[in-house]
């Protein structure tokens, strides 16, 4: 027994097995189930086992699918760019401008305060603010900036992206801040001594060293936005659709196989996006 346990390979396998079992049961198995169901058929009120490509056929030939996927990418891309810009700036400020560690921690915690309430409440509270007779419009009118209320503030792509950025910027701030704090300050001093300007330091030293953080934040934001359905539903007033809403509509109408097929395609798409992102940075090496 003792000899067995000393066997390096065996202990390695044993140590890894609990996690492997958990992942197999709670991650791999459900995904396999989804893949299996995506080939099933459905009637009004039931699903039946089958092996048919109807769901995929409908999905891949419907012009709406393409449009909805493009819309999903649009949301993901715009949200990613904005959260990256804002997130990087906030992290940079926290890491390099705030000198005292106490203040750094205090300000960092301040960023997390909105997370004390639920995601949905944070999102829905935009609705009365942005509405036709909402706070934003009435303020602008009373300042005489505009005469007519702005219609596009609410139930538009603008409001959807605004909510996304509001909800997910912190997911960008945290990993970037984390990598920034690990940057050896003497590198910056060295760059300074070598005559680099502030901008050169940013582009040649800080950004390359922040890549893993940026990448992790990007993965968070992209997957969250691509998988979302509730933000799009509420903030667009059900007028826009992304892939998540297609799935939730199918589920509501008991079309599980069709929902599963859409989910499989979404999963493949998201994995491809992440795979592409990971080609730029080797997260393992950098961490």
């Amino acid at each position: 027994m003792a000899a067995l346990l000393k066997n390096r390979h065996l202990t390695g396998w044993l140590l890894a097995s609990p996690l492997a079992a958990v992942l197999a049961f709670f991650l791999v198995l459900p995904i396999l189930m989804i893949v299996v169901v995506s080939f099933w058929g459905a009637t009004e009120f039931s699903i039946y086992p089958a092996f048919q490509f109807d769901n995929y056929h409908f999905l891949l030939t419907s012009p709406v699918t393409l449009q909805v996927f493009l819309n999903t990418f649009k949301y993901a891309l715009v949200t990613w760019a904005l959260t990256l810009g804002i997130g990087f700036t906030v992290a940079y400020f926290l890491a390099f401008h705030v000198r005292s560690q106490t203040w750094q921690i205090a300000l960092f915690l301040l960023c997390t305060i909105p997370f004390w309430t639920s995601n949905i409440i944070r999102m829905i509270s935009w609705i009365p603010f942005l509405g036709r007779n909402g706070l934003a419009n009435s303020t602008l009118i009373s300042w005489e900036v505009i005469d007519e209320p702005l219609e596009w503030l609410l139930f538009s792509d603008f409001s959807v992206i605004l909510a996304f950025v509001h909800l997910y910027t912190l997911f960008m701030v945290v990993p970037i801040f984390n990598t920034m704090m690990r940057i050896d300050r003497s590198l910056i001093e060295a760059a300074n001594d070598a005559g680099a300007t502030g901008f050169q330091i940013l582009t040649n030293v800080i950004i390359p060293l922040c890549k893993p953080g940026i990448m992790i934040g990007s993965i968070f934001v992209v997957t969250l936005v691509m998988g979302d359905f509730i933000t799009v539903r509420f903030m667009s007033g059900s007028q826009s659709a992304n892939v998540g809403r297609l799935i939730s509509n199918d589920i509501a109408l008991l079309q599980y196989p069709s929902a599963a097929a859409t989910a499989v395609i979404l999963l493949v798409t998201v994995l491809m996006v992440i795979g592409t992102l990971l080609r730029f940075v080797d997260i393992r090496k950098e961490l």
């Binding site: 419907s62 509405g131 139930f155 007033g237 059900s238 007028q239």
Partner: protein, 424 residues
């Protein structure tokens, strides 16, 4: 010691037994009934309209058993009734949902001879006709899915077979809700929903089987499409209807689509929307905030819906008896009065009369001007003396039904097209 206890117990049991025997012979079933029924819990689920906590409380007071209520949206209700038959005892569903789920066998047929007020149920739910002269509207009319061939039946039969699928409880005639203060002119036709005058200020509900009917009412009123049967459209008719609405959507006609009751109230109350599909209590809710809102009768008629109570196939024994007791109580008037004060109708209106004041009955049912302030069940004022209900009396409103909420033969096709419309 043990022995003594046993003897004592058995003697006492004997005595109680004798007493119960005497009692039972004097008042047959109810005695035993009343003792066991307190332990019964019936789980009811349905759409928000009739899942009211007030009803559950009253059931506890008057019938003694516990009624657990769960409110869900129409899609979720259908899903649950179809896929989780063990999760409920009583399904409070609409007739078009019944058409979908009855064939699953998850509900059991109900013996009308056990329904005390069966003969007083309005004609709409029995022969399909409100009065003998009425014509039957298009769509899934309640009587067409209201009866089955017998216990265990999974089919629908046209005649009153004595076995009901759902016991009708609540129904209404729906139309468009408008904000008269923001529109400032009379609205008379369904076509106004797509009138460019209301660009960016209109809304329609995003529940496919109801939304398509509103859409059809509009397209028909515009003269764009002549339907064979709005309640059972052909693929071509569905395509045409959705094309007209998709075009309007792309032109920015709609401000939003709503899926839940609260969303419709908020859209209207905030002024985001001035004309939209709406449900009667949503109008009530907007009005009780002091905002003018009218449930506008339109010349093409109403889109109507009806709901009823279905019993789970798993119910049996005492629980089944309790469920019948509950149904009989439901139709006996108190609930009807409660629902009618919110603008719905009861399946047995005459029993509700005793539970409403003359003023309330006159206003809600007979379409007479109110003689005093009308309040909702929570006591908030809804109408002042002299006001008349939008659309008038029961017979004026239910007599002008143009179609019922429906499930079509081409339902799956319609749902896909509807999804495309939402995504467009």
């Amino acid at each position: 010691m043990t022995q003594a206890t046993k003897t004592g117990l058995s003697r006492r049991t004997l005595l109680t037994g004798a007493a119960a025997g005497v009692a039972a012979s004097a008042f047959p079933a109810p005695m035993i009934w009343a003792q066991n029924i307190k332990d019964i819990t019936l789980r009811q689920f349905g759409t928000g309209v009739s899942n009211l906590n007030e009803v559950a409380q009253k059931v506890k007071e008057e019938l003694g058993f516990t009624l657990e209520m769960t409110a869900l949206d129409s899609d979720a209700v259908t899903q649950r009734a179809a896929t989780q038959p063990k999760s409920f005892d009583i399904a409070d569903i609409e007739y078009w949902i019944c058409k979908k789920i009855w064939p699953t066998g998850n509900l059991q047929a109900m013996d009308t001879s056990k329904i005390a007020n069966y003969d007083k149920i309005v004609g709409i739910f029995r022969s399909g006709k409100l009065t003998p002269e009425s014509t039957i509207a298009q769509g899934t009319a309640p009587h067409s899915v209201g009866f089955t061939s017998g216990p265990g039946g999974k089919d629908f039969v046209a005649e009153e077979s004595g076995w009901m699928t759902l016991i009708p409880t609540i129904y209404n005639a729906d139309t468009l809700g408008i904000r008269p203060d923001l529109i400032g002119r009379p609205i008379e036709s369904w076509t106004e929903l797509l009138n460019p005058e209301f660009k960016g200020k209109a809304s329609i509900l995003d529940i496919s089987s109801i939304g398509i009917m509103d859409a059809a009412m509009v397209c028909e009123a515009m003269g764009e499409i002549a339907y064979g049967d709005k309640g059972n459209m052909t693929r071509e008719e569905i395509d045409k209807t959705m094309a007209i609405f998709t075009e309007a959507k792309k032109a920015g006609q709609f401000r939003a689509f709503w899926k839940t009751f609260d969303e419709s109230v908020n859209l209207m109350a905030s002024g985001e929307v001035v004309i939209q599909s709406m449900w009667s209590p949503a109008i009530t809710a907007v009005k009780s905030r002091g905002i003018p809102c009218v449930y506008q009768p339109l010349k093409e008629g109403y889109r109507s819906w009806g709901g009823g109570i279905g019993l789970s196939a798993n119910l049996s024994g005492l629980a089944l008896d309790a469920a019948y007791e509950y149904i009989n109580w439901y139709l006996s008037g108190w609930v009807g009065g409660f629902l009618m004060r919110q603008g719905y109708y009861s399946a047995v209106p005459e029993t509700s009369k005793d539970f409403m004041s003359e003023n309330e009955w006159g206003y809600w049912f007979e379409g007479k001007p109110a003689t005093d302030t009308i309040t909702n069940p929570q006591g908030q004022p809804m109408a002042q003396a002299g006001d008349v209900r939008d659309g008038g009396s029961f017979h004026d409103r239910m007599g002008a039904v143009a179609c019922w909420n429906a499930v079509m033969d081409e339902n799956q096709y319609m749902v896909r097209k509807w999804n495309e419309f939402i995504a467009a």
